[in-house]
């Protein structure tokens, strides 16, 4: 059917979009947890957490849409990927539980010790969730063994130096986004410290991007040909060049004394370009080297039924999510917080 092909592509793009929205939104919000160890004062930690308290829950909903959408639109890919990265997924889910409840429990804990414990849960949960997400990405890129309609590898196949490299890169990348967010939301002395931290994590992020980009072509013949073969190179070459350009602009903005929003916005652009790079590596596969999106697609009837709703609902969701962000816009008053 003609429209079934279009729908599959549309769904792949829509899912890629929701994963991207998840990465940038929960990216900065997990990043705040990753930055927590560098701020020991309780008042600093309070205001850092308050800067995302009204929105973290909505941010994580994009992860549910990513998982649920994959299940619905590409059930075969969902059924293969989940068992393949089983321990990493379970670790991510448990980590998200720890950090999610810390948002509420931290304010209810009455003793210094239990407050410290929930701070530790927030840090550990954020770091583990980010690490697991990077590892899942790495495991996905390096390929998953498939037989028939099921995962056929062992339950530790996902753990390789490459997947760990991806994991660490995501951790520092999220920390960078978190620092940029805080730079936008805070003021005074703490903002100054955050800005210094943003510079350090910016360097680490660039190192991570370069390392993952250099390692990817060596994973399999397919990747090298996609990036360096002629004539694709005419289309792929601008991506690293753009990343370089954005990186320079970012560096300048991080040293500018009054540009508070610009580093965060450029950080989002940087992530978007990396995401585009991943797209070039993967498209149009649902499982690298094994299953295309068309092979993994749900029947056209399933995709169409959802698509009608998604096309109406996603813009509405973006509108009210944007509204929620707008309500809580601007610098935080450290004396007040929200209550």
């Amino acid at each position: 059917m003609f429209y079934s092909i279009d729908l599959t592509v549309a769904w792949a793009l829509l899912l890629a979009f929701s994963v991207f929205v998840y990465v940038v939104l929960d990216g900065f919000d997990l990043g705040i947890g990753i930055l927590y160890p560098f701020f020991r004062e309780k008042s600093d930690r309070d205001i850092m957490m308050n800067s995302v308290a009204p929105v973290w829950d909505g941010n994580e909903t994009w992860l549910v849409l990513g998982g649920g959408g994959l299940f619905a639109a590409f059930p075969l890919a969902y059924a293969v990927i989940m068992p393949a990265v089983y321990p990493a997924i379970i670790a991510m889910l448990l980590a998200l539980i720890f950090r999610g409840v810390a948002f509420e429990y931290r304010w209810r804990a009455s003793s210094r010790l239990s407050k410290r414990a929930w701070d530790a849960a927030f840090i550990g949960g954020s770091v583990t969730a980010a690490l697991a997400q990077g590892i899942i990405l790495g495991a996905f890129l390096q390929g998953i063994e498939v037989e028939g309609r099921a995962y056929a590898g062992g339950w530790w196949d996902w753990l390789t130096p490459f997947s760990i490299l991806c994991g660490v890169s995501v951790v520092v990348g999220y920390a960078f986004l978190g620092a940029c967010w805080l730079n936008m939301k805070l003021e005074g002395e703490i903002q100054h410290r955050v800005r210094v931290m943003a510079r350090a994590f910016f360097v680490a992020t660039i190192v991570g991007i370069v390392a993952v980009s250099l390692a990817t072509p060596f994973l399999g013949a397919g990747y090298a040909a996609r990036w360096f073969g002629w004539p694709q190179i005419a289309l792929t070459a601008p991506v690293p060049i753009l990343i370089g350009g954005i990186a320079l602009l970012l560096l300048r903005s991080l040293f500018h004394p009054t540009r508070d929003r610009l580093p965060f916005i450029l950080g989002l652009v940087l992530f978007a370009l990396c995401f585009l790079g991943l797209g070039i590596s993967i498209w149009p596969l649902a499982i690298p080297q094994e299953i295309t999106i068309w092979e993994a697609a749900a029947p056209a009837k399933s995709q169409l039924f959802m698509f009608v709703g998604a096309i109406v609902l996603v813009p509405i969701i973006l509108a009210y999510t944007g509204y929620a962000y707008w309500v809580f816009r601007g610098k935080l008053d450290p004396e007040k917080g929200y209550h």
């Binding site: 989940m82 720890f98 999610g100 429990y105 959802m306 309500v327 209550h339």
Partner: protein
């Protein structure tokens, strides 16, 4: 066979799903009810400007925030449990149930999450009108969410509207038939009502606790207890009626489940007894030490004393659900339902005699029954899910053929991790909720982000604190 601590991978996967979903279910059951309760409180406050409603709103909002967070994080787990432990089921049934779950995310989760921040933190930022709107959106979101997920669950109980493709996948044929499958309206009504009733008893239990502790003159305590007891008196009988309708629907579509619920191993030609007690022995296919009331089961299920009822002797052994679990969990649910009705009637009597706030035995009963809804909800859930066995999609896909190609040790290890972490995390959450409940709602009740305990010296200046409580006392000035 590959086992872990004596269990095979399928059993472990079932234990893991059952454990994570039962734990998760507790929180939405409360937050569905609390979201509506909060919307009602806020509306009543805006309408009457009575301070007691604002006090209660802020009081329950703190409890709601914790419950909601626990529901969200345990819910993220659920959206991945299908793939991690039930990948074959996901692949086969995904085209049918996946879209319904995607609609749940799109229509409900985003709505709740998007407006939750404004509901909790935004009263001063957006003004009373938009804040009320946010409260309503959160309440509506929880109900929409329940609707979709119960449609999915009902479809697994009474599947229709699909065909089977060449690759073994289920292909949707008629979305209307899939969504509005035969058991869906009954299950939805029964479950949503259960959520409201559960919340009513929690609120009533907290109110009773403070009445017993000498807070009889606190208008917040009086209002919450009175509202909860109205709910108990009106909704408990309604729920028993809905449960009966749901049971009759189940008899029509899943007779083996009803046989297990009733403990009917043998068929009855001339009216079946209602067994109150007994020990099901599935090996021997009999109910030992049975105590029953003759013909009552036929009267309840068929509305005829002498109607014949078939028993499990008409069902092949390998298609019978585990009878003992279903039999007992059903009795726990029904027993609690009638106890709730008892409390509701007791409260009507006390109210009629103008002793609602003085009847100590009513308060004690309401306190003891505080968590009863949670137990009943889980018992009901176990009844319907275990009663569906040995199928995951009733009559179509067996549970034993639906799990992931994972070793027992992988599933077992992760199960242990879930159990340990859930008890630590959610145990702490329940402790914090109980701590919040232990304090009576006070004049100038604080918001969500103000910390408990006496350590409130830094960061808050007493002047502003005075102003804030002043605003609470005289709300018409705000």
């Amino acid at each position: 066979m590959d086992t872990f601590l004596g269990f095979d991978a399928v059993t472990l996967a079932r234990m893991q799903f059952g454990f994570t979903v039962a734990f998760h279910f507790i929180f939405p059951a409360v937050s569905i009810g609390l979201a509506s309760f909060l919307a009602v409180l806020n509306a009543l406050y805006l309408w009457t400007k009575n301070e007691a409603y604002l006090r209660l709103f802020k009081y329950w909002l703190k409890i709601f925030a914790i419950t909601f967070a626990m529901g969200v994080v345990s819910g993220i787990t659920m959206s991945y449990q299908f793939g991690t432990n039930w990948s074959v089921f996901s692949d086969i049934a995904g085209p049918v149930i996946g879209p319904l779950m995607a609609y749940e995310v799109l229509t409900a989760f985003f709505l709740e999450a998007g407006f939750l921040g404004i509901m909790i933190f935004g009263r001063d930022k957006v003004g009373p009108g938009l804040h009320m709107f946010a409260c309503l959106m959160v309440a509506v979101g929880t109900a929409i969410s329940a609707t979709w997920i119960l449609s999915v669950n009902s479809w697994m109980q009474t599947p229709q509207g699909f065909s089977i493709g060449e690759n073994g996948q289920y292909l949707p044929e008629d979305w209307w038939a899939i969504i509005f499958n035969p058991s869906f309206p009954y299950r939805l009504a029964h479950t949503l009502t259960a959520a409201y009733l559960t919340t009513a008893f929690i609120v009533g239990g907290v109110g009773a606790w403070h009445l017993l502790r000498g807070q009889r003159e606190n208008p917040g305590v009086r209002t919450m207890f009175s509202m909860a007891m109205w709910m108990a008196a009106i909704v408990a009988p309604l729920q028993i009626f809905l449960g009966d309708m749901h049971g009759i629907n189940t008899l029509k579509h899943q007779p083996a489940k009803v046989m297990a619920m009733e403990g009917h191993f043998e068929s009855h030609e001339h009216g079946a007894p209602l067994y109150l007690f007994g020990i099901p022995d599935q090996e021997a296919q009999e109910l030992k030490y049975a105590i029953g009331i003759p013909k009552l089961s036929s009267l309840i299920l068929e509305h005829d004393l002498n109607a014949p009822l078939a028993g499990l002797d008409t069902i092949p052994r390998d298609e019978q659900p585990p009878v003992a679990i279903v039999f007992w969990s059903f009795r726990v649910m029904v027993g609690l339902g009638f106890a709730m009705l008892g409390v509701g009637l007791f409260s009507l009597w006390a109210r009629f005699r103008a002793r609602l706030y003085d009847a100590k035995w009513l308060h004690r009963a309401a306190l003891v029954m505080g968590p009863s809804g949670l137990v009943a909800v889980i018992a009901g859930w176990i009844t319907t899910e275990v009663g569906r066995q040995p199928y995951v999609v009733y009559g179509a896909l067996r549970t034993s053929e639906a799990h992931s190609p994972l070793g027992a040790s992988a599933v077992g290890t992760s199960l242990i991790a879930f159990v340990v972490i859930y008890f630590v995390i959610f145990g702490a959450g329940v402790a914090y909720i109980l701590k919040l409940m232990h304090h009576a709602p006070a004049l100038g009740e604080r918001g969500v982000r103000v910390e408990p305990g006496p350590i409130r010296t830094s960061g808050i200046n007493p002047d502003r604190q005075m102003r804030e409580s002043g605003r609470d006392i005289a709300p018409e000035t705000s």
